[in-house]
């Protein structure tokens, strides 16, 4: 089992002077600590215009800063929006390779297509076309990363013969992922031989079904590259405290506030009827703060909020259903003082991580078959 931290950079109102800088500074401090404590990944999302929910529109810059301030933790685009109006594929390849060099081969490259009208409409992108564009990007990127000149004649973009520079350290390229929100995207990931980066909190049952199908299907995939990434991660929240009641009180306030902010996003399907977007939202009930009568403090099953024992048990269950990694939102909507966030991370590392240390040797390497440092 691998562990990551996941930055949305949510900035609650009121937007006072310096609040965005404080959120970014807090995130960088969390990343530095996570690096020291043995976490595997730092992920940063790409979102645009999503007031309060996410002010992380330039994740490549955030991750560059993280890479400069850390030594071993891997930095993940969670994820680059593969829509031409937002990111030209050549620029995606150039920036990714540069970040891979600057981080000394620590980049994970997530891909996505955006799920809100706020973002797609803001860039004038046609929701009907985003899945097609994403598919072309994931086929094109390995070719753009490859040594030498290449050309591309596609629907989303065309490029006469050019040598896209620089080239990444990891060969043939950094591990590729796709963010999974809509049901069925895990199958797209499997068919293309790329990792499944869960960005929607899912129940145990739903995640187990998706993970099983992903692992079955990727066995016979037609990969976009010689490097198959067959990992599945899920998104979760983390608040670890010795006192289970206090953990629930503080942690579930974060979960609830983040779920509320998430539910206020203007989903593409709500504004633009299309076959290309079937989900109206991306948080399962566990992620929206719904109570759990089976838990003494009402914490939903699977949510990593609680004392170390409860969190360890939850992770054991995620592990049992085949999840390779869990990425944690540490402080959605900045509801928790930074000192408590860092204390939660330290306690998790001290009391929970050792239960999963058998995986430590595998952690340093990515889960990519057929790839690695040049």
């Amino acid at each position: 089992m691998k562990f990551g931290i996941f930055f949305e950079m949510s900035v609650p109102r009121p937007f006072t002077d310096g609040i965005e800088k404080r959120v970014f500074d807090h995130a960088l401090a969390q990343a530095r600590l996570a690096d020291q404590l043995g976490f595997d990944w730092v992920w940063a999302v790409e979102h645009h215009f999503l007031e309060e929910y996410s002010h992380c529109s330039a994740p490549e810059l955030v991750l560059t800063a993280v890479a400069m301030q850390t030594e071993r933790i891997r930095v993940g685009h969670g994820a680059v929006v593969c829509v031409p109006e937002m990111n030209h594929p050549i620029r995606v390849a150039e920036r990714a390779a540069t970040l891979d060099i600057l981080s000394n081969g620590r980049l994970e490259l997530g891909t996505a297509r955006s799920s809100t009208w706020t973002e797609l409409g803001g860039f004038g992108a046609n929701p009907d076309d985003t899945k097609k564009a994403w598919d072309e990007y994931v086929r094109a990127l390995p070719q753009l990363f490859a040594h030498g000149h290449t050309r591309w004649q596609g629907r989303a973009f065309r490029m006469p013969e050019r040598n896209v520079l620089p080239k990444p350290i990891q060969q043939p390229h950094p591990p590729l992922w796709v963010t999974v929100t809509s049901p069925g995207t895990e199958l797209d990931a499997a068919d293309r031989g790329i990792g499944c980066l869960g960005v929607a909190a899912a129940s145990y049952g739903e995640q187990e079904r998706r993970t099983r199908e992903y692992h079955r299907r990727i066995q016979s995939c037609n990969p976009v590259s010689s490097a198959v990434n067959d990992q599945v991660t899920t998104l979760n929240f983390l608040y670890c405290h010795e006192d289970a009641k206090e953990a629930a009180r503080t942690g579930m306030r974060m979960v609830g506030m983040f779920g509320l902010a998430n539910s206020h996003l203007l989903w593409t399907r709500e504004a633009f009827p299309t076959r290309a977007y079937q989900s109206l939202a991306n948080l399962a009930p566990t992620g929206t703060g719904g109570g759990n009568p089976a838990d003494p403090f009402g914490v939903p099953d699977g949510i990593c909020v609680g004392d170390p024992k409860r969190i360890t048990e939850a992770i054991r269950r995620w592990e049992a259903i085949g999840v390779d990694g869990i990425n944690f939102i540490l402080n959605g909507m900045e509801t928790i003082p930074q000192a408590e966030v860092l204390a939660s991370l330290r306690l998790f590392a001290r009391e929970v991580l050792p239960h999963f240390e058998k995986d430590a040797p595998a952690r340093a390497a990515s889960g990519v078959r057929g790839g690695g440092p040049a």
């Binding site: 007031e51 706020t118 409409g121 539910s263 206020h264 009827p273």
Partner: protein, 244 residues
């Protein structure tokens, strides 16, 4: 979190009076439904909805029209203007104004479901190459739009948010939650073009549907089930939702 800032007293000034909560279900077979969405400027975002609701970002103005050839009150057409919002976690359409071309239907929709329906002319036409909606009151056109270039959709592709009508109810001024069910048999997406719009005639001078997003037209059987919930317009849904 952004919250609505419209004064409930202003919104409630000319609201319908709900007789009770026992009406429905009402089945409306063979209906044609047109929905058109437009972004509104940020200046309208908080101003249009009451403090119990969260506006969306960007603010979204939804024009929704039903043409119902069969109903307990005879054939009628109803046009609504709504501001898209959230009640707690849920997507909702807050109705700022409505016009109905059948007096009996208007009275019943107001008394049973809280629609702020006023008498007027509502003309919804659908062709193979376009659809049109024109609404007039007192001889003046207050809304005209066209939807062009129909593209087929699956019925499940079209989303309709639950309706919130502000009304005087036996429990006081409340947002009456109406949850129409749509059994869709044919659906098309359209490219909307707004030809005429008078915001004051739709209940709020801040309404400004300036940026077209999408439109759809469907054939459907509608059912208006009995009202299950009402919400206080002045407090958030977690505190202000009441089961009836």
């Amino acid at each position: 979190m952004i919250l609505g800032s419209a004064r409930v007293e202003d919104l409630a000034a000319e609201r319908p009076r709900l007789a009770g909560f026992g009406a429905g279900p009402v089945r409306l077979p063979g209906a044609e439904v047109l929905q058109a969405m437009f972004e509104m400027p940020v200046s309208a975002r908080e101003a249009v909805v009451p403090p119990g609701l969260h506006p969306t970002n960007p603010a979204l103005c939804v024009i929704l029209a039903w043409r119902c050839p069969e109903s307990p009150w005879g054939p009628f057409a109803l046009a609504q203007v709504r501001a898209q919002a959230r009640s707690g976690l849920r997507p909702r359409g807050f109705v700022t104004g409505a016009v109905c071309d059948n007096r009996d239907a208007a009275d019943a929709l107001a008394a049973d479901f809280g629609f702020p329906a006023r008498a007027g002319e509502v003309l919804l036409r659908r062709a193979y190459d376009a659809a049109w909606l024109e609404v007039a009151r007192g001889g003046q056109t207050i809304l005209a739009l066209e939807g062009l270039d129909p593209e087929p959709l699956l019925p499940a592709d079209v989303h309709y948010s639950v309706t919130l009508n502000l009304a005087d109810t036996p429990r006081g001024v409340r947002l009456v939650q109406v949850e129409p069910e749509y059994e869709i048999t044919r659906a098309e997406r359209l490219r909307p073009r707004l030809l005429s719009f008078h915001p004051e005639a739709w209940g709020d001078r801040h309404l400004d549907p300036y940026h077209p997003v999408s439109a759809s037209v469907v054939s459907a059987t509608l059912t208006l089930p009995p009202v299950r919930f009402v919400c206080r317009p002045d407090v958030l849904a977690f505190e202000g939702t009441e089961k009836v």
